[in-house]
Assembly symmetry: C2
Homo-oligomer: 525 residues x 2
């Protein structure tokens, strides 16, 4: 498939008129053709108008139709075959196996949402029937269903060119809810975005849906992104990226005449608590596993373990020594973009320059560009607590070990952490009491609490929470991964005393869609 | 029971140090004793710290304990007997029957939430069990439950001194979720707030719960209210009141280091569509019913019907004539506060002064203070669309009839409406096609769509939605009334691979709480 460098607005391909954006192969710093000329407010206007016109129709399509769209998108992405993987590799520097795995995850995710749509559980049907005889006043019939909020703007992430991008979790869950989607493609992987965008475009046509259901725009965040979020027809935003990017969109969304929710997944250091008995019993094994995870794809995961917290002990020293040894041996890895590489270097250099922090390992140099050299640092708990700069994520293969005088100090560090996507306990049976004291703090701090595992490699299931208190996300009440991600794009509507003939199928007394319903407060099975 | 004019902070009663706040009897403009001296940041600090200290314990109390608290609060409010009703009458000018009804609703609401807590459905338990044999990678065990967000600040409304105040829907749903509550009492009914606050305080003690679970503060919105919302220990805000008050709190909440959600229910004109056949068949009856509703408690409801929309016709003229005739005969009614009366007069005078608007009825004058004189106005649809000032709520017994040239213009008016709590269709069988075209628009505009009824007198059930697109509320994805109100104060946490012994009871494999669970995506019954 030939890339054209055009935006996809409904069923059209539209050339932009602004400065060209080129993908950069981060392994070589070479520009990749074609040029993607950025859009303007004109293209935003066109995509938003099409999305708005499609909304009322799309949201009332049958559950099967919408599920069919998601399944078709998955098939069309698979049909892109190796072209997609090769382009994504060139644009991101990520290895083939990782991208093939990510494609599988992306397609599984689309199919999971197809299943979710078909089940109709998300409609949350509640029926409180009339009680004409009730005293002192009769009760009227009240019925609730969830409806989609409206067109959604999605901002793809740099680190997951498939699973958190054009047809990633935000798009899949918004389409599942019945929301048209306009993607502002990430400038780091425009070719991958065009390929996937064309797959979605094809799926929309195949399913006979209005073209406005889906568009992909290219361009600057300041021009295209900001205009999109400010557009009155856009009713919610999905974003995965940096803290500064996410909070900038939040501000635009809040300053609108009609403020809208921004679901931004932004930053997390993913603390790992090494409990004393586990550390004593299998510190070497934990050190090996930790370094493997830290180095996976240069640590470019939202959930890469950036903080390790433990009581000072011989076992901790041995853990640090082994981890340091392994890190020194780590080959460097190409980072996603020159910008991400620069930010990583800046973050690591700030740690090196910090007098409270001790560097214990750094992977060797490499002549190739944009190479991530893993790094490990140690800091005393009191110093960590005193220095907020140490609390922020360094995106990449860098981690900071926080040495605590005792478990009370471990607890204190836990209480001082920012909001996180994940918090992990490495524990053995004899650590249960310590774990039990930490758990209430970790629940307050993180959206996912793990035991004896490592946070990357998130399962996309019904119980998934990829969310957490600010600043890890903008709204701790939501997840951007897993079937519960759909609720972000829904709002409840109550129908009072409507004639059955006017009620949507989901709410008709005869239950033609065979939905699970809450009738008079009790679930009907 | 003697009122002391003190704030209630945990189990203490604390005298404020700022300017005294006196309730005003709006029927006489007389001050009511005692003086309520406003609090300062010192009392906010104390209440917030107590709430924070209570949180981890309170949120893990058993479902029965928390349900017991809600039931006990209801009983303690009932035990206040006529003292409460008499004080509320003096402070609000509302009639006895209305306040007795509101007390019943308040207590029913507390008991509904007790039932909700006991059911545990809100925990939304999801279990995706491990699949150790899965290829290429085993699947880990993932379990989700909802946990409360943290201490909640509640701002009571002036127009519902019981049901939307100290122990109203926001407090009930937050306590049900497991969130400690700090109420900033409305200065219009401090005595009512103290009485109910003491009933809650007593219930907390009776149930053996930590005192920080509940506090009531008095004082200025600028000092006490703003400090409370800015406090880092407060994790969500419930508010019912004016647009300016709600948006001010939203701004404070968004500017925090950790932004928090504000659930503000603010303003709604509650459009009523008079469809042609219904108007023809029973216009006179509709006019009578409309005026009765408009005059109910001086129209001081969030859902008072402020806009009537219909096609120009003889039937509409006859409707307006009858409604006007009835309004002219309406006795005046005491409004809640001098401030609300002033705002009403200002709103009505702006309509009178508006050259596009025709006044068709105004109730007679009265010598008593703060008297609401009902008013009816008519405007042409094109003029309504052109003049945004006409789109805003006038709180009280004023309504505006919008005359449309045809159904296309009715549709156009519907599209131009702001977000609303409710939208109502008055329809007959022959109006179904017209209704069917309006319905998708009304769903987008409102949280509750009614047929052949009037929006005030909301049922508090499971299907209730008292919410809607901005500016009717700050978050259209939520409701402040009905059992679904609890979700505002919850966030999901996923537990990955935790040993059963560490899991909360709700998630243990043996299901000791006998909860409905979603196991591998399927509901277990």
């Amino acid at each position: 498939m030939l890339l054209t460098g055009e935006m996809l607005i409904g069923q059209q391909a539209v050339a932009g008129s602004r400065e060209p954006i080129y993908a950069i192969n981060p392994a070589t710093n070479e520009q990749l053709a074609p040029a993607y000329h950025g859009g303007t407010s004109k293209e935003v206007e066109r995509a938003a108008q099409l999305a708005w016109e499609a909304f009322d129709h799309f949201r009332e399509t049958s559950l099967d139709t919408r599920a069919g769209l998601l399944d078709t998108i998955a098939s069309e992405i698979e049909a892109l075959g190796d072209t997609l993987i090769q382009r994504a590799m060139a644009e991101t520097g990520l290895p083939q196996a990782r991208l093939e795995g990510e494609r599988a995850r992306t397609c599984n995710q689309l199919r999971l949402f197809a299943e979710v749509v078909r089940s109709g559980d998300w409609l949350d049907v509640r029926i409180d029937p009339a009680m004409p005889e009730r005293q002192p006043m009769p009760r009227v019939d009240m019925r609730l269903r969830q409806i989609p909020v409206g067109p959604v703007a999605v901002f793809g992430a740099s680190n997951f060119p498939l699973a958190f991008s054009v047809a990633g979790g935000d798009s899949a869950s918004a389409l599942a809810a019945g929301c048209p989607v306009i993607v502002k493609a990430h400038s780091a992987h425009p070719g991958t975005s065009e390929l996937v965008g064309r797959a979605v475009q094809k799926a929309v046509a195949q399913c006979g849906l209005p073209e406005g259901v889906f568009s992909v725009l290219f361009g600057s965040g300041r021009e295209v992104g900001a205009t999109l979020v400010a557009d009155h027809r856009i009713k919610a935003v999905g974003f995965t990226g940096s803290f500064s990017g996410g909070t900038a969109l939040m501000q635009i969304a809040q300053q609108r005449k009609e403020p809208i929710p921004v679901f931004a997944e932004m930053s997390s250091s993913n603390p790992v608590f090494l409990l004393p008995e586990a550390l004593k019993a299998r510190g070497q094994e934990l050190a090996e596993a930790f370094v493997t995870v830290l180095n996976n794809c240069a640590g470019q995961f939202c959930t890469s373990p950036g903080l390790l917290i433990a009581e000072r002990s011989e076992a901790l020293d041995a853990f640090v020594a082994r981890a340091a040894e392994r890190i020194e041996q780590c080959p460097t890895q190409t980072m996603l973009t020159p910008g991400i590489f620069d930010a990583y270097e800046q973050g690591v250099n700030a740690l090196i320059a910090n007098a409270r922090v001790r560097q214990v390992a750094r992977a060797g140099e490499s002549a190739a560009p944009n190479q991530c050299r893993a790094a490990l640092f140690v800091v005393a708990a009191a110093d960590f607590i005193a220095d907020e700069s140490l609390h922020h994520e360094v995106f990449g293969s860098a981690a900071l070990v926080i040495e605590c005088a005792d478990q009370a100090e471990v607890q204190q560090v836990a209480e001082r952490l920012e909001g996180q996507l994940t918090a992990t306990l490495q524990l053995d049976d004899a650590d249960m009491d310590v774990a039990r004291r930490l758990l209430p703090v970790l629940e307050r701090k993180a959206g996912r609490v793990l035991a004896n595992g490592w946070p990357p490699g998130l399962e996309v299931v019904h119980a998934t929470v990829h969310g957490g208190p600010f600043p890890s996300t903008s709204d701790s009440r939501t997840t951007s991964v897993g079937s519960a991600a759909i609720v972000r794009f829904l709002r409840p509507v109550c129908y009072q005393n409507l004639p059955d003939i006017l009620l949507p199928a989901a709410l008709k007394e005869s239950n033609p869609l065979q939905l699970k319903r809450r009738y008079d407060g009790k679930y009907e099975y």
